[in-house]
């Protein structure tokens, strides 16, 4: 770490600086350390792609649910108990279909649907993905191992407002006999961002 800072005598190590700031904020009564623990617990255990996978699996087996999800994803996701405050206030679900593939990005920062996917992976927040997903989606998809036929239409969604996008992947063939939990187990995080095909 070698950047300059406009305040005095910064500890050089980010871990030390973070610890110092937390001590100060606790000392001043500005944060409750137990609240910090509870927030971390939320991200480690309450949210993550398993939530989104349940939404997708339900949409695959229940046509009425799929209709509700496409019409008002915020409400449909809340039906399954997910949503609320923090990056899931206004959800939109976009569905892949034969000949149509959706890909989600946030070119300006790191917007991501926390309630259904949890915290984003590092690559999602990084300059290579943010810069290229909009201008070269086929190249990005190829780096993830997906070769899309030239005639497939790619729809990229740049999350520039407080609307968050969830991709509903196509249901894999040969899964007719599977129940909802078994289907949910097939749904990957990257499938719901659009960087993987199922």
């Amino acid at each position: 770490m070698s950047h300059d800072h406009d305040h005095q005598a910064p500890p050089s190590d980010i871990a030390l600086r973070v610890k110092a700031l937390e001590s100060l904020l606790v000392d001043k009564g500005l944060v409750d350390p137990a609240a910090l623990d509870a927030i971390i617990e939320h991200f480690e255990h309450r949210v993550g792609p398993r939530n989104g996978a349940r939404v997708v699996a339900r949409a695959w087996i229940d046509p009425d649910y799929r209709r509700r999800l496409l019409a008002d994803a915020t409400e449909a996701i809340a039906e399954l108990g997910y949503g609320g405050g923090g990056q899931g206030e206004h959800m939109v679900a976009v569905e892949n279909a034969p000949g149509v593939h959706n890909l989600v990005v946030c070119t300006l920062c790191s917007c991501y649907p926390w309630p259904v996917l949890g915290l984003p992976p590092v690559w999602y927040k990084s300059p290579p993905y943010r810069s290229r997903a909009v201008i070269d989606p086929r190249g990005v998809l190829a780096e993830f191992g997906n070769e899309l036929a030239p005639e497939v239409e790619i729809r990229v969604w740049d999350s520039t407002a407080e609307v968050r996008y969830l991709v509903i992947p196509e249901r894999p063939p040969g899964t007719e006999a599977l129940d909802e939990p078994a289907l949910a187990a097939l749904v990957t995080r990257n499938g719901m961002i659009g960087t993987a095909l199922l």
Binding site: Q8, V31, H42, G83, G84, L119, R130
Partner: protein, 218 residues
């Protein structure tokens, strides 16, 4: 602002490189930064937080890790808001002469805060200027402050795809804290309109854009 954060379409930033193990956090300090940002007294204004990260000098912005940027912006906002002084930051000790604060978020409030339904939808100040199917041009604006109108769509023509109602307007909200609700639309741009003839004919990029970013196109 025309910062390096506005990187849609930039070349030369390297290949996408997923980690093999993808840990949720990389060191115990990262979740503490995330949690401090969420619990901070400065958290009320998500747009001001975004703008503070955009103000990190460009070379640093590209070099720093994600949570380093969050940490830099958090410190800057705590200083600007008068919640801490430079002397306190340097010593990591509270000035004993200042009164003790009350945390904005206490532990029992955390779970309800994550389940309570939030919304950026506000009462509309006027009727919507555009409807689904209308062709619109993104204006050629270069505000020095916060905006959510990326450079790569400025001057380009798209079609209104969805009308979201009037939402908190980030350009004003980041600056003054006022909601200043404006109509928000999903606008679909053909990739060829944005990137020229090398783009695939049927591909598109959709963005959520506020009415002040748009004018009617023919």
């Amino acid at each position: 602002m025309n910062g390096v954060h506005d990187m849609g379409g930039v070349h030369g930033l390297g290949p996408v490189a997923p980690e093999t193990d993808e840990p949720l956090f990389h060191g115990p300090w990262e979740p503490r930064v995330l949690a401090m940002v969420i619990a901070s007294p400065t958290r009320g204004n998500i747009d001001a937080g975004r703008h503070q990260r955009e103000l990190i000098p460009g070379a640093d912005y590209l070099r720093m890790s994600y949570y380093e940027k969050w940490f830099e912006a958090l410190e800057a906002m705590l200083l600007q808001g008068g919640f801490v002084t430079p002397e306190e930051l340097a010593s990591a000790r509270a000035n004993p002469e200042t009164p003790r604060a009350t945390p904005r978020l206490k532990a029992p409030d955390v779970a309800p805060a994550f389940t309570r339904r939030g919304s950026y939808l506000r009462e509309a100040p006027a009727s919507a200027a555009f409807a689904v199917g209308d062709p619109v041009r993104a204006l050629n604006l270069h505000p020095a402050g916060h905006t959510r109108l990326p450079r790569y769509v400025r001057g380009r023509v798209g079609v209104i795809e969805r009308v979201h109602g009037a939402h908190v307007y980030p350009d004003t909200h980041a600056q003054t804290g006022a909601d200043d609700p404006r109509w928000l639309y999903t606008v679909r741009f053909a990739s060829r309109e944005l990137w020229g003839p090398d783009a695939a004919e049927r591909d598109s990029v959709s963005l959520d854009l506020w009415e002040p970013y748009l004018e009617r196109a023919e």
